[in-house]
């Protein structure tokens, strides 16, 4: 059977399959990117996620969702995981899994929180902490396709040390035309910045987002409370709710 153009629709759609960790990259003190090799990977769209499943010796299983953070590179996919203290799965992914180890993967899944390169609307990405993961997949896919759709990213982090993909983002702002990045620091502001530490607010979204009249697509991703706050502000600023796409990663965070 020919492979389908819509990742995850037909190919092995229902199954879990065995992947191997081939590389690990540290992003921050509490997060790392895992590069997995998944045989027969059908490809994915930026914003889709996978479910990762661990099985204990007694047969107990735990599965969690992780966004793909980069476009597919053949059979290689990347996920970027933040260590949640006392978490069941994320500490194991970060500390317990060695290069060469196997893990079960299901996906790619999710058709809602995706950016389609054929859509001409300007894009606002708003990420909190690890919520940058699917947004980075979009930024990288845009570059890989040579797309000129204007992108703005507002990235909320506790401090400069908590920025994922910091070097690459700096480089992309310089080299990828039409990409702007603004940071919001919630705890500790770098010395070079005149801003004060604060949680993302109306002024940040007004200044660094797009006016609703341009009908941008807004992608908001991060901890649940962060996503609620940002999407409420965007709707209050006049963005149509269906143009505010959200993905909630779970409790607390940034």
């Amino acid at each position: 059977m020919a492979r389908t153009a819509i990742p995850g629709r037909l190919t092995k759609r229902a199954g879990w399959w065995v992947a191997r960790l081939v590389e690990r990259r540290e992003e921050t003190a509490t997060a790392c990117t895992l590069v997995l090799e998944v045989p027969d990977w059908p490809g994915h769209l930026p914003g889709q996620h996978v479910d990762l499943r661990l099985t204990a010796e007694d047969g107990y299983q735990a599965a969690r969702s992780y966004s793909v953070s980069a476009p597919a590179d053949g059979e290689r996919i990347e996920v970027t995981v933040q260590r949640v203290p006392d978490g069941e799965v994320s500490p194991y992914l970060i500390e317990g899994l060695s290069v060469g180890d196997q893990i079960e993967v299901r996906g790619p899944v999710g058709g809602y929180f995706i950016w389609r390169m054929t859509e001409p609307a300007p894009v606002l990405l708003v990420g909190g902490g690890s919520g940058i993961a699917p947004l980075m997949a979009m930024i990288r896919a845009r570059r890989a396709a040579g797309s000129r759709v204007p992108f703005r990213l507002i990235y909320s982090v506790r401090s400069e040390r908590d920025i994922y993909f910091a070097d690459e983002l700096r480089r992309r702002v310089r080299d990828d035309q039409g990409l702007d990045v603004a940071y919001v620091y919630t705890r500790e502001v770098p010395e070079s910045s005149p801003a004060r530490a604060h949680r993302i607010a109306v002024a940040d979204l007004n200044t660094h987002g797009w006016p609703p009249q341009l009908e941008p697509t807004n992608f908001v991703c991060g901890p649940t409370g962060f996503v609620e706050a940002v999407s409420d502000i965007l709707v209050a600023l006049g963005h149509e709710p269906r143009r505010v796409k959200t993905e909630r990663f779970g409790p607390t965070g940034a």
Partner: protein, 97 residues
């Protein structure tokens, strides 16, 4: 209580259905609000997941997976409208999976 959103239902529901249901539009039987499944509030309390209406917080969908079956309770939804590409209807043929 802690929750995520309907995006996380993509994997579990893909085990059951041939299409992505997170982009389906659902109507809440309790308050009448319509919206994407991806925007529901999802609470995982093993062995299942419960998805609530983001507007009135009533349960719209409940999915429980057992070793040999999946229980999908959709009592809280009056309908699900599922985007389907036209070619699904114009290319009948043997199921290849």
């Amino acid at each position: 209580m802690d929750y995520v959103d309907g995006n996380m239902l993509a994997g579990p529901l893909q085990e059951v259905f041939a299409v992505d249901l997170t982009t389906a539009t659902g109507r809440c039987a309790s308050c009448g609000q319509t919206g994407p499944v991806a925007a529901l509030r999802v609470y995982s309390n093993a062995p299942g997941v419960v998805a609530r209406c983001p507007s009135c917080t009533e349960v719209m969908l409940r999915l429980v997976r057992t070793p040999n079956s999946a229980w999908l309770d959709l009592r809280g939804a009056t309908f699900l409208q599922i985007p389907m590409p036209a070619e699904s209807f114009t290319t009948p043929g043997p199921v290849t999976m």
